[in-house]
Every structure is written in structure tokens, then in C-alpha cells.
């Protein structure tokens, strides 16, 4: 019997697990993916938004600003890469400037710290260059960048260290209200619990509608991104986008932006298209074309164009898609259900959900604790033990590391400098990696410019060794995604070529 069951291990579920673990509760997280962070929290713009554009008075605005303020402490406790590089929304004509002033007004209502309307000269104090047509813009200094999956993994790991149970590859199929709480059904195992927290992303409506008569609808709204090589990293500092007027995606997005990821690659995106399949994160030719043609056309406005005059198509190393769980109410749906006691929603968490989730989770848990008189857990540990990966060590630390453990001397991913020791650590960590993609998310092996061409077979071999399975059983992302097959008696042996 659990006290609390969290459905979904994205940023919402992970933040809730972390917050709930601060109380004396027996908690489980149930996730249908083969790893945590299997949904939208993996494929987004990785931006910690300042909160300047979320409409005043909405949950989005309130929790965006509260969430943003939490990131310094949260990321330093959990050892997650995060920096505040500021956000600039630039304008090229008077209508844009009008929009900039509107955003400034909105930002003030939302109490976003430090937001300024700048003229061209003001912008040039922040970035050395802007294209000649740029006349001014909005500057929000609290905007930042985070590694979204590192954050989700770290929150989950820390929840796990604080005795939260995790069940992966487990899709919640039914929830029944019982006298003492809920009965939750997955194909492998059933659970009884007092409370249910619905953090199922694009599927949160299905989960809610299983128990509540207050039906909700979530529409998956796709956004796509392109990643550029980290060679360009010296030229991209501030997160920059154009005023959202007349942009592809229009009002659904913050507009096409260029941002420096914490890993030094450059992220470009994104548009917005409603889709029907709630798990279809595939990139589309229309979506990718939208990004490339936008940047081809507008590259000249950006600071990077001083050094790299044209959009560098040949620097594209990858692309990815993500689905915003858009609620028809156009706002986050959060808190205890009105008609079902003990059932809490954290649903419709679309952008700026990554930023807002830590604050929403705090608020939901606080309310539940007050209402149900839940006791604090005095043994909660908030600081994450973290072994620095080889990639982040300085020369002396590296020397020392190889001396203590020879496996640090075996470089597996040459693009991102990931060693065998780093990979083994990721496999044996709490909630350790059991697939090639899980290793990739935890260590960056395969995320660099060769995209795993060289290292992914080696990663698979290490997984096989460490998990004691055959190479043919190793998967890329869980059941059915096997990579290798046994060689049958081949024609080549018969013909002995």
C-alpha cells in the first residue's frame, strides 16, 4: 500500500516525487517509458523562461516566475547544469517595438525582475552586434538555460535516494476509486494508494477522465528543434528571438529562437502544430523546413551573423521534436480534483512548464500536506551526491581519476569525452541506465557531432557486460528496440567469400 502514486516521470512527476519525498510518505512513480524523462521533458527548448510573456494572472505566469527563481538553488543542490544568459526579444519595426512595450508591461505585472526595454544602443551593450535593421528590444536578465533531462534524472535519482520507488515500463491502464483511496492497474502490477498525482503529460486527460467527471482535453501540439554543432558556441550567448508577431507558429509559441544549450551546442526552434498522436515526436519535413527557412531569412539580424554571415546548414548535427500537452483551457490544470478527493492533477503543463514545474509541485504538495496533515520527513536529503564525469574534470582531477580507476583511461565517446568509467557509473547509479539511450541521456555518449556512430556499439557492449546480458538483448530504448542480431550461418561462410 502506497500513500502516493505519481503517474509519469517527466519534469512534473519528477518535481512532485522530489517534493513529496520531503514528507513521511510511501511513494511510487509509475512511468510507461523504459526510462524516466520519456516524454515532453526530453524534447523542448531547455529555456528557463523569465516569465515576461505568460499572460498576467494565469497559472502559467504565476508559476513561471516562481519557478524561475528556484533554479539556482535547485540546480546547485542537484548538480544540474544551469546558467542565466538572459533573453532578448528584438524588434525591427515600430509594430515590433509596440509589442516589446506590451511585453514589458506584462512582465511588470508578473513581477519579473529586471526587465528592460532597450533601444539599439542598449542592445549593443549586451551583445556586440545586431543586424542593421534591429532597432531595439526587450531584455529579461533572468532568462536561463538548463539541461532538461539532467534535471529530471537528478530529481528522480534524489527522490529514489530518499526512498521513492520507481516502476518503469509500466503504463497505467486503469484507476479505480476505492474506500481508502485508489486502485491503480498496470499490465505488470497493481497498486493501492491513498493519493494519485496525475503527471501523464499528453496523456493526462485520459488519466483524469478515468476517475473525474470534470473532463479535460489535452491536445498534443508539436514543436521541433534543430541542433547546431558546438563549434558555433562562441557566437551565441544570450537567448534571442524576434517579437512573436508574424512568426511561424504565431501566438502558440514564443517565436523562433536561438539559444546556447548548456552543452555548448546551439538550439534553434520552434514552431507549433497541433497533431493527433500523443506520442508522435517525429520530426516533419514541414517543421524542419519552417526552422531552416526562418533562420535563413532572418539570420542577418542575429549577433552570430557578424562572424557567421549565413545560416550554416552544414553545422546541423541533429533535430528533435516534442509535444506540448496543451489543455483546451489554455492554462495549467493543477491541484486536487474538485470531485475526487485525493486525486491531484498536474496537467496541461505546456511551455513554460519546464520552468514552472518545480514551483507547481511545491504548491501542490504544500496544499496536500496542509489539508491532509502530512508530517515532514526529517531525513530528507536535498543535496545530490554526484561524481564529476571525466568531461568536467580539470587536468589534475583527470590524472587522479585514471590513477584510481583505470576505466577512466578508456575513452568511449570521443566527441563528448565520455569514459568507460562514466558509463559504468551511469549504469550502476540509483535508477541506473539500462538502455543505450539511457546511457546517452546520463553521460552524453553519442550526443556529439558523430551522433554515436563510433561509440554506440561500445556503449552497448558495456551495457551487456555490466547487466550480464547478451549483446543481442541490449536495446536502444526498451523492449522491441534491439540493435544487434546473432549471425546465422551465413552465405559468406558457406561460400567462404
Amino acid at each position: 500500500m502506497y500513500d502516493a502514486i505519481i503517474i509519469g516521470a517527466g519534469i512534473s512527476g519528477a518535481s512532485l516525487a522530489f517534493e513529496l519525498a520531503k514528507y513521511k510518505l510511501h511513494i511510487a512513480v509509475i512511468e510507461k517509458g523504459s526510462d524516466v524523462c520519456a516524454g515532453t521533458s526530453r524534447g523542448n527548448s531547455a529555456t528557463v523562461h523569465s516569465g515576461h510573456d505568460a499572460a498576467y494572472g494565469t497559472n502559467k505566469a504565476i508559476y513561471n516566475v516562481l519557478g524561475n527563481a528556484m533554479f539556482d538553488t535547485l540546480c546547485s543542490d542537484l548538480k544540474v547544469p544551469f546558467f542565466r544568459n538572459g533573453t532578448i526579444i528584438f524588434a525591427i519595426n515600430d509594430a515590433d517595438m509596440e509589442e516589446v512595450r506590451r511585453l514589458k508591461h506584462n512582465a511588470d505585472l508578473n513581477r519579473v525582475p529586471g526587465v528592460e526595454v532597450l533601444d539599439r544602443e542598449g542592445l549593443l551593450k549586451i551583445e556586440n552586434y545586431f543586424g542593421p535593421e534591429v532597432i531595439g528590444g526587450l531584455y529579461a536578465p533572468t532568462g536561463g538555460m538548463v539541461c532538461p533531462y539532467s534535471l529530471v534524472i537528478a530529481l528522480c535519482e534524489q527522490a529514489y535516494r530518499n526512498h521513492v520507488d520507481f516502476f518503469l515500463n509500466s503504463k497505467v491502464e486503469r484507476i479505480q476509486k476505492t474506500k481508502s483511496g485508489f486502485f491503480v492497474t498496470t499490465p505488470k502490477k497493481n497498486f493501492e494508494t491513498k493519493f494519485v498525482f496525475n503527471c501523464a503529460g499528453t496523456h493526462a486527460d485520459e488519466i483524469n477522465n478515468l476517475v473525474s467527471s470534470n473532463k479535460i482535453t489535452i491536445t498534443p501540439r508539436k514543436g521541433e528543434h534543430i541542433i547546431l554543432d558546438k563549434k558555433l558556441s562562441p557566437y551565441v550567448r544570450t537567448t534571442i528571438s524576434q517579437t512573436p508577431l508574424n512568426l511561424p507558429g504565431g501566438g502558440h509559441t514564443k517565436g523562433m529562437g536561438i539559444m546556447p544549450s548548456v552543452d555548448k551546442t546551439i538550439i534553434l526552434g520552434c514552431g507549433a502544430h497541433d497533431v493527433t498522436d500523443k506520442d508522435d515526436t517525429a520530426t516533419t519535413s514541414i517543421g524542419l523546413e519552417e526552422i531552416t527557412s526562418y533562420f535563413e531569412k532572418n539570420w542577418r539580424h542575429l549577433p552570430i551573423s557578424e562572424k557567421i554571415p549565413k545560416f550554416p546548414r552544414n553545422m546541423i548535427i541533429n533535430a528533435f521534436g516534442g509535444l506540448r500537452p496543451h489543455a483546451t483551457t489554455d492554462d495549467f490544470i493543477i491541484g486536487e480534483s474538485e470531485d475526487v478527493k485525493g486525486f491531484f492533477n498536474m496537467a496541461g503543463i505546456e511551455s513554460p512548464g519546464l520552468t514552472a514545474a518545480p514551483a507547481i509541485a511545491q504548491k501542490i504538495v504544500q496544499e496536500a500536506a496542509d489539508k491532509y496533515h502530512i508530517e515532514k520527513n526529517d531525513f530528507f536529503v536535498s543535496i545530490r551526491d554526484y561524481e564529476k564525469p571525466f568531461r568536467e574534470m580539470d587536468e589534475d582531477e583527470r590524472r587522479q581519476a585514471v590513477m584510481n580507476n583505470k576505466e577512466y583511461g578508456e575513452i568511449v565517446c570521443r566527441c563528448e569525452l565520455v569514459t568507460k568509467a562514466d558509463i559504468i557509473a551511469a549504469i550502476h547509479a540509483p535508477l541506473g541506465a539500462s538502455t543505450v539511450n539511457a546511457v546517452k541521456m546520463r553521460t552524453r555518449a553519442g550526443m556529439g557531432r558523430c551522433q554515436g556512430g563510433f561509440c554506440s556499439p561500445v556503449v552497448a557492449k558495456i551495457l551487456a557486460e555490466e547487466l550480464g546480458i547478451d549483446l543481442t538483448e541490449v536495446t536502444q530504448s526498451g523492449e522491441g528496440s534491439n540493435i544487434f542480431f546473432p549471425k546465422t550461418e551465413s552465405l559468406s561462410q558457406r561460400n567462404s567469400e
Binding site: 546541423i316 590524472r399 583511461g409 575513452i411 528496440s481 540493435i483 542480431f485 546473432p486
Partner: protein, 421 residues
């Protein structure tokens, strides 16, 4: 800090041939650094025939070709470290290496030869839309898994790219019991050798579709299929030409890129066309005493040329160490390609230092029939030679003689062009 006269980074055919040549030219204190578990580089996984026709006048497999050089390395007692990755290099010729036994250390060299080979362009670089299931491999990765690790990568295959690696992998997959549905090539011609098209595709009746590429990847966990479409002149899919191919494996053979992260570390200037360093006639980069050869310099289709080029680099590195390199004297002449010639290697020569004969290698950007390769000294044509066929897939060569270069007064630039007549 351990010190060496010459450090060679990469123990493939280029690194080995360079080290041997350096030794034969009087350089004693040499160290080869190789990341892999044995010498030989990419050749270790190329178990098919067809290597060494030019060098040894017989058809060897990749490992056999590599073994001939490795033997010389052993016999000449040239030092090499395996399982050792170079993670950094600077212009002062300090090299940071890591391996399991000796840990991390910094080595000092008088000269360095870069021979890191190349890497394959991944799917991301093509920006093919769709999902990201298991079952998508670059062809070289699949080659290594099959030939070295001894596993299959799938049963039903679509191959993108008809370069030699793609062609050879088509045959390999068939011989190992898989079905190859189709080979799709974006260009209107194959960049592979004619004999490979015959022996690897035609003999097995594998269709080869020109002007086609993948426009969508299907499948959630493992690949379930690929949609191909024909491209127009702007390389946009032509509506109505889409064809769905059911398959569990997609092999990408869509180009190789010289591996030059270390060159970047040292601030060496790269040529945007070759993606390798800009070099002079002795294969020296713009960092004095740092030389480069093989696929790290520009992508080769034939290993024989790699070995030849590497010998030149090795010899010149030895000369540099012995202080025999002629530096300032002589005239710097620019070499470049235009009118259909994509690039030349080297990009500079020194009229005084250059060998009696210098081979200029270049690639064309398109297929030409019965066209002329012309060489201009400044704007005067000095060579005009008819070629029945020129294709981007095959590296071309011309030779320049030192006396010819030095006879020409006020020579500033040498340009290689393709001319219709």
C-alpha cells in the same frame, strides 16, 4: 614530461606509412598513438579484397594491407601505444594522451603528424524527418559490427548512398543473409567504383535508384520502414514519387568528414572544402612542424594514395626535425581549383623547397565526359589534357615539376580547371 622527436597521431595506414618514412629518413625517436586495440585503422574492418593494387600490385584485403605496414613498424622497432586516445594538442606540440595503464600524461614532440582518419556523416546531418527508432546505422559502423564484432545489424535493409562503402555493405548484408531492398542515391550518378557497382549490386540484382533519398523514417522502437522520394533540381521531393520500403535497417553511406578536432584545438586553419587542414607541398599545416596526411587531410577512396601521401609527410617531418626544412627562402605559390575543380591538395607550395616532382590531388564537382584538365600558372595555361571521364568519386592527380615551376617568372598562383575544350 616525456619527449619525442616525432609523434604520430593515429595508427591507420596513413600514420604507419608516415612513421616508417620518417624512420627511413633518419628520425629515430618516434611514437605512434592509436586509440584502437591494434594498428591498421579502418582497414581492420574492410575484409573485402581490392587493396594495394597500386602499391603491391596484388589484391589484398584491408587487414592484409595493414599487416604489411604493421610488420615494418615492428621490424623497425617504431614505438606505438595502443588503446591510447589523444584528447588535446597545442601549437607548442604538446600532446595530452589518456590510456588505462599510464593514465593521463602530456608528451612533448618536435614534430607531429596528424593521421586521425575521418568519421562518417550521421543521420542528423541529413536532417531526415521522422522518428528515432533503433536500426539506423552509418555504413562503417555496421561494417565494424558485422566484420569485427560478429553480429548482424538487421534483416531487411535500405541503403542511402552509393559510394564504395555503401556498395560494399550492400553485398556484405546479402552475404550474411539479409535482404537489401534498394540503394538510393541522391545524385544522378554513383560516386562508387564501377567494379563495385557490378560486383556488389548488379550481381545480386539490387536496384539502385538515382536522385532518390529518404524523406521519412518510420517506426517507434525498431525501424519499420523508410519512405523514399525522387528529388527535383533544388533537392526537394517531387510529390507523387514517394515509395514506402518496409525494412528494419537503414544504412547511411552519405559522406565522410576528416577528423580534425585536435587540429581545431591547436588553431590550425582548415579548408572548408576538404574539411582538412590547409597544407603546403610538404603536407605541413599552418602550425609549424605539424604535418597531416591520409583521411584527416582529405577523404581518399584508395588506400594506396593514402600511403603515398603519408610517406611524403613522414619524410618532410624527419627533415623538419633535422632542421633541414627550408623555410623562409623560396616563393609561396597558391594552388587552387576552379571551374569544376572543388579543391586541390596541397593548397600552397614553396618553389624552392618542393621536391623535384609534386603530385597535386584534386576532386571535381560533377561528372565530365571528354573534358580537359587544365593547369594555369597565373593566367597562362601550361597543361591541357583530355580525360575520357572525370567523376567526383575518383580523386584525380597531376604532377608538377620543380623546374617547370621555377622557370616561370612571377608565379603567384596555380589553378586547376576543367575545360570543355
Amino acid at each position: 614530461m616525456k619527449a619525442y622527436d616525432l609523434i604520430v597521431i593515429g595508427g591507420g595506414p596513413a600514420g604507419m606509412a608516415a612513421a616508417i618514412a620518417a624512420k627511413e629518413n633518419g628520425c629515430e625517436n618516434i611514437l605512434i598513438l592509436e586509440r584502437g586495440p591494434m594498428l591498421g585503422g579502418i582497414l581492420n574492418q574492410c575484409i573485402h579484397n581490392g587493396f594495394g593494387l597500386h602499391t603491391f600490385h596484388e589484391e589484398l584485403t584491408g587487414p592484409e594491407y595493414a599487416a604489411r605496414y604493421a610488420e615494418k613498424i615492428y621490424n623497425q622497432r617504431i614505438d606505438y601505444w595502443l588503446n591510447t586516445t589523444v584528447i588535446h594538442m597545442d601549437r607548442e606540440k604538446r600532446v595530452t594522451v589518456v590510456n588505462a595503464n599510464e593514465g593521463l600524461q602530456i608528451l612533448q614532440a618536435k614534430a607531429i603528424i596528424l593521421a586521425m582518419g575521418c568519421r562518417e556523416r550521421p543521420r542528423g546531418a541529413l536532417n531526415i524527418p521522422g522518428s528515432r527508432p533503433a536500426g539506423i546505422f552509418s555504413a562503417g559502423t555496421a561494417q565494424r559490427i558485422i566484420n569485427i564484432d560478429g553480429y548482424m545489424v538487421g534483416h531487411s535493409v535500405v541503403i542511402l548512398g552509393s559510394g564504395d562503402i555503401g556498395l560494399i555493405m550492400a553485398r556484405r548484408m546479402i552475404l550474411d543473409g539479409a535482404k537489401v531492398r534498394v540503394v538510393a542515391e541522391l545524385l544522378p550518378y554513383s560516386s562508387g567504383l564501377k567494379r563495385n557497382i557490378v560486383q556488389c549490386l548488379d550481381d545480386f540484382t539490387i536496384p539502385l535508384k538515382f536522385r532518390y533519398t529518404a524523406i521519412k523514417i518510420h517506426g517507434d522502437k525498431r525501424l519499420t520502414g523508410v519512405t523514399l522520394a525522387r528529388m527535383d533540381e533544388m533537392n526537394k521531393p517531387i510529390p507523387g514519387t514517394e515509395e514506402f520500403y518496409e525494412c528494419d535497417t537503414l544504412l547511411l553511406s552519405v559522406g565522410l568528414v576528416p577528423e580534425n578536432e585536435l587540429s581545431n584545438d591547436a588553431g590550425i586553419t582548415l579548408d572548408p572544402r576538404t574539411c582538412g587542414p590547409v597544407v603546403n607541398d610538404s603536407f605541413e599545416t599552418d602550425a609549424e612542424g605539424i604535418f597531416v596526411c591520409g583521411n584527416a587531410l582529405h577523404v581518399h577512396d584508395l588506400v594506396d594514395y593514402v600511403s603515398q601521401e603519408a610517406e611524403t609527410a613522414g619524410k618532410n617531418a624527419a627533415r623538419f626535425i633535422q632542421g633541414m626544412a627550408i623555410r623562409e627562402k623560396g616563393k609561396k605559390v597558391t594552388l587552387c581549383g576552379s571551374d569544376g575543380v572543388r579543391y586541390t591538395v596541397p593548397q600552397f607550395l614553396n618553389s624552392n623547397r618542393m621536391d623535384e616532382k609534386l603530385t597535386i590531388r584534386f576532386r571535381v564537382g560533377d561528372v565530365y565526359h571528354n573534358a580537359f584538365v587544365s593547369v594555369y600558372f597565373n593566367d597562362q595555361r601550361v597543361l591541357h589534357r583530355k580525360k575520357p571521364i572525370l567523376t567526383p568519386g575518383e580523386m584525380e592527380m597531376i604532377e608538377l615539376r620543380k623546374d617547370q615551376v621555377n622557370r616561370f617568372t612571377d608565379l603567384e598562383s596555380i589553378t586547376v580547371k576543367i575545360e570543355k575544350e
